[in-house]
Amino acid sequence: MSSSSSSTVWKRDHFIKNPFLRWTVIILVTAYVLYALNDMNLNWARMKSGLPRAVDFFHRMFPPDFSRWTMIQRGVLESLQMAIISTTISIILAVPLSLGAARNISVRWVYLLSRAFVVVARSFPPILVAIIFVKAFGFGPFPGILTLAFTALGFMGKLLGEAIENIDPGQVEAIRATGANWFKVQLYGVAPQVLPRYVGLSIYLLDINLRASTIIGIVGAGGIGGALFNAFHRYEYDTALAILIVIIAIVLVMEFISSKVRGRLQ
């Protein structure tokens, strides 16, 4: 008990140890956030005047109008097809890409090339890619499928590539030691280790592509998004709500299925 006078006070080190530097960073960040808030004209007056308009807009959406069901159905089916086709393309191409993007498997120039592709594919949001592809290939689901496949490939190349980089090298070594060639080493040494991850990512990708396929139609790349955009354009908010409800329903169903399948993979 008497030893308390000699005990050492312990405090966790600050993330930035130098107190002068620490306070400088805190003050500068705070000042910039305040400046930015002011600069962006984020104020209550605008919020207040806008709210009634938003409420009015919301009112005009009800009740949802499903009268143009055939048009909605066609759009939804197109979105679904776009999602399935683009996912299939990207999960097939992802196999060589992710092997190329894995440092432990690849040779240097293939690795750099694959990584460069992944970085490019991931740095553009789908909507931007869709705009470019629509410009290049014209309206319709074709540029839409290309868009989804391209962005999905970046996603798969990165995540599957990283999964491959984290495999147990001992298992690969053992297969090499049997005299198996490169392809058979991938088949027995690498594939079994990343297969559950691959299947999980593929299902997740279908999920992502389905969501994205409902959006890129806004810039003319096919699917239900075009119909949604047109409905807003013609002030047919009730039809727009009907479309939104269908999209949400599909996404929920997809979410349910994918979580079930991924749960069984564990």
Binding site: D168, G170, Q171, E173, A174, I175, R176, A177, T178, G179, A180, N181, F183, K184, L187, Y188, G189, P192, Q193, L195, P196
Partner: protein
């Protein structure tokens, strides 16, 4: 039948792992390699089947210079060398049978391997070998469901189904309890004798290594410092290999077991 001439390995980090090791094995014998951690034992064994590329030196197996081979020829040479690993290195998610048959990957085509269509005689032999090591009925178990001793048995079968001319064994017992370790060493020694092939065994456990070996090689800092029968291993030898320590107990243990 097997010969290593002046093997040198310098890693890109500058580490001089092997400084000119030469070993000749002219009959089917169990060769235990002793040496402290970092002495180059693992590097030595991996330079033989070129999982690690030696910097210089030559390795011959049945008159073929392994160190000069490339591509397909190297793969074919590796088929003749069965390897058994410290951490078993089984493909965890595959079944025992798939792991065993992976030892024959060098003999089947890609599609055969992919769809698991291995020739019936390979499958027959796999069943036979599994029975021989006491794993009858385990063929459909996943490797990650097995115990350490069982895994190493699968590792032994995978190496043997290659019909190797030599066994390369890297610390086969380091993760196992003493009894299992003895059983595994006995199995490796028996099977090597049965097949009439030599085995090079890296091993930490001096007593175990002496008990099953026909010949001991001491490796220290990348150099062979001892090469002789187990009976010639004395406290001085162990000091030479591992450094100063009281070795009397370690050695007596072996003599006790032999009585």
């Amino acid at each position: 039948m097997f010969s290593v001439k002046n093997l040198v390995k310098i890693y890109p980090t500058g580490q001089h792992a092997l400084k000119g090791c030469s070993v000749d094995i002219d009959k089917a014998q169990i060769v235990s390699i002793f040496g402290p951690s970092g002495a180059g034992k693992s590097t030595f064994i991996r330079c033989i089947n070129r999982l690690v590329e030696p910097t210089s030196g030559k390795v011959y197996l049945d008159g073929v210079e392994i160190t000069g081979l490339k591509g397909k020829d190297l793969h074919e040479a590796r088929r003749k060398m069965g390897m058994i690993f410290q951490e078993y290195n089984l493909i965890e998610r595959l079944t025992v049978m798939e792991n065993v048959l992976s030892g024959r990957l060098g003999y089947v085509g890609f599609l055969q391997a992919m769809f698991r269509r291995f020739p019936q005689d390979y499958v027959d032999e796999a069943f036979h070998l599994l029975e021989r090591v006491g794993l009858e009925g385990y063929h459909n178990q996943r490797a990650d469901a097995l115990s350490g001793g069982q895994r190493q048995r699968v590792g032994i079968v995978r190496a043997l189904i290659q019909h190797p001319k030599i066994l390369l064994v890297d610390e086969p017992t380091s993760g196992l309890d003493p009894k299992t370790a003895m059983i595994i060493m006995q199995l490796i020694a028996d099977l090597a004798k049965e097949k009439g092939i030599p085995a090079i065994v890296n091993i930490h456990d001096v007593a175990l290594g002496q008990q099953y070996a026909d010949r001991i090689i001491g490796l220290t800092e990348g150099e062979v410092v001892f090469d002789g029968p187990p009976s010639e291993v004395t406290a001085e030898t162990l000091t030479q290999i591992y450094g100063e320590e009281d070795w009397s107990k370690t050695i007596r243990k072996v003599e006790d077991e032999e009585e």
